[in-house]
């Protein structure tokens, strides 16, 4: 058995016997479903409609009788409709983008934060971090869960955390060189941007102590991992999580870099057919469905992540008994992940409609320039929009840009294009063109 040294006490739960693990899961499942049934109107109503009660849960397989939850449930009950605990018990709020204008809000009790810190400690430990590491946390701090999640995990492990947050590339490089940074947390695409910036400045990773990268918040490929490991001379690990469930800390790779261990003591996983909702056999591809076993503020029961993966039940040579999922590379819906931010085409559409009441034809083009994701929104000029003055057209461009930024929190490059210039297939325009993985560099 190969263990990455040293294993902190928090990680002991990674090595439970399957029997112990299932017993803990069933116990926690009953507790959390009871909490949601008693306190969340939507859960109670849906369970009642199906004729199920919390005490019908006799085994873990019985979870399949419970109704699913969707991201839209958070939108429909915005902001606090799914909270199972009173506000006096909520010590933290985080938010993520919803499918249209408004964000979705999740809450954490003090115990929830302890669970989150625990799973993030275990994440960092599985990536080989320990006390003595100097961790540059380049995930964004704020409503986004990445920054604070990684922060508490690394700090909980006893590592030295540099809470630098995202952006300001020059300062990131200065800190990485001068502070003796041994590990970095960021989105993989931002790290590629750092690599390219360092190379442009004639800098070298050879002189740095950087050894490990903990990357997440967006899908990335094995090709990108090879590029990062080769160019920066580090080990690059994939971590997985989502705001609705807890943030980062749902699953992580270990030293084997072969699938992500799900922290099953806190999250119950199922893989289902995205169309029928029926469970698929182990090893087959399907949509990941998660139930929070320990989260009290906003318990999620059978939450449809829309992330496509497959469950790996074979034991991992690292010794962890937690089952694994394959890297998530695509989704069953049209959600895009841009610089770690979740964006739906419907959000961009709603922003365009705020400026022009009759929706113009548009196309979202995702590009990667120097490692950074860029969004370009091409809008076909219509008779109604067209003005003879350059200033008026530029103002229209600015209005689109600011409406989009207002909704998704990211700056998109709006480009006015000629009528009929966006390709249509069977009369319907293809809304998203993802060109991020085209060309040489990832």
């Amino acid at each position: 058995m190969t263990l990455t040294p040293p294993i902190p006490p928090e990680s002991y739960a990674d090595f439970l016997t399957p029997e112990e693990l299932r017993r803990i899961q069933l116990h926690r499942l009953r507790e959390i479903v009871t909490l949601a049934y008693d306190n969340v109107q939507l859960t109670r109503k849906r369970m009642t409609d199906r004729g199920v009660k919390p005490d019908h849960l006799k085994s873990l397989a019985d979870v399949r009788n419970l109704p699913f939850m969707e991201k839209n449930d958070l939108r429909d009950t915005y902001p606090y409709g799914l909270f199972a605990r009173p506000m006096k018990d909520i010590v933290r709020l985080h938010a993520s983008s919803g499918t249209t204008g408004k964000p979705i809000v999740v809450g954490y009790t003090r115990e929830d934060l302890a669970v989150w810190t625990n799973v993030m400690c275990r994440t960092m430990a599985a990536c080989g971090l320990h006390a003595g590491d100097v961790v540059q946390n380049a995930f964004g701090y704020g409503l986004f869960t990445g920054g604070l999640g990684a922060h508490y995990g690394a700090e909980g492990l006893g590592a030295t955390v540099i809470p630098i947050s995202g952006g300001n590339t020059e300062r990131q490089i200065l800190v990485m060189q001068d502070f003796g940074v041994t590990a970095i947390c960021s989105t993989p695409s931002y790290f590629v941007h750092l690599i390219e910036s360092i190379e442009k400045m004639d800098g070298s990773f050879g002189k740095m102590k950087l050894r490990t990268g903990v990357f997440g918040a967006e899908p990335w490929t094995e090709g990108m991992r090879a590029y990062i490991q080769d160019r920066a001379g580090i080990k690059a690990y994939d971590i997985y999580g989502l705001t609705e469930i807890i943030g980062p800390g749902v699953a992580t790779e270990c030293c084997r870099q072969s699938g992500l261990h799900v922290f099953e003591d806190h999250f119950l996983m199922e893989v289902v057919d995205p169309k029928t909702g029926a469970s698929v056999p182990d090893g087959e591809e399907g949509e990941l469905v998660l139930t929070t076993l320990s989260k009290r503020a906003t318990p999620m029961i059978r939450f449809r992540t829309h992330d496509i993966t497959a469950m790996v039940s074979a034991p991992c040579p690292c010794g962890r008994t937690l089952r694994r999922i394959l890297r998530v590379t695509h989704r069953s819906d049209d959600m895009m992940i841009i610089r770690g931010v979740n964006v739906f085409p419907s959000q961009i559409e709603s922003a365009l409609l705020k400026v022009e009441t009759s929706l113009p034809h548009y196309q979202i083009v995702l590009l990667r320039k120097e490692g950074l994701d860029q969004i370009e929104v091409q809008v076909e000029v219509t008779e109604e929009m067209f003005r003879d003055r350059i200033g008026a057209l530029e103002q229209l461009q600015r209005q689109f840009t600011s409406a989009i930024e207002h909704v998704i929190g990211l700056r998109a490059e709006v480009r006015l294009v000629e009528p009929q210039s966006i390709a249509r297939s069977q009369g319907k325009a293809k809304r998203v063109l993802d060109k991020r993985n085209e060309g040489g560099a990832p």
Partner: protein, 144 residues
Amino acid sequence: MKVKQLSVFLENKPGRLGHPCEVLAAAGINILTLCLADTEKFGLLRLIVDDPEKARKALEKAGCAVNVADVLAIEVADHPGGMEAVLAVLEPAGINVDYMYAFTLKRGRNAIMIVRFSDTDKAMDLLKKNGINVLKSVALYEST
């Protein structure tokens, strides 16, 4: 008299200007003068043609975004201070020149300027009162 000017939206990339010109040629429309304005991302082709209505229909049918605006064709004396004399009439009245461009040929000793004003009617009144020749569209076509 006001002159009808057509504006066509163009993306700022090679080959885009050819399309509207081809469309007009095919429809047998003569371009009397034109002006191309550009920004980093897009361009505007402004045209004075012999049959603006026919040209508009042809361009729209070919999928172009077309805008029709009223502009004035003004005779400006071709000597130092000629342009200044025109502006001196308009500026005190708060009329703004949005843009202007020169016509391709002269009328006698005078140049002809195509001007888009913030207030076309007011500009026309003032110019006429001050003895500046605003060409009738007919006169404009005849001069070619």
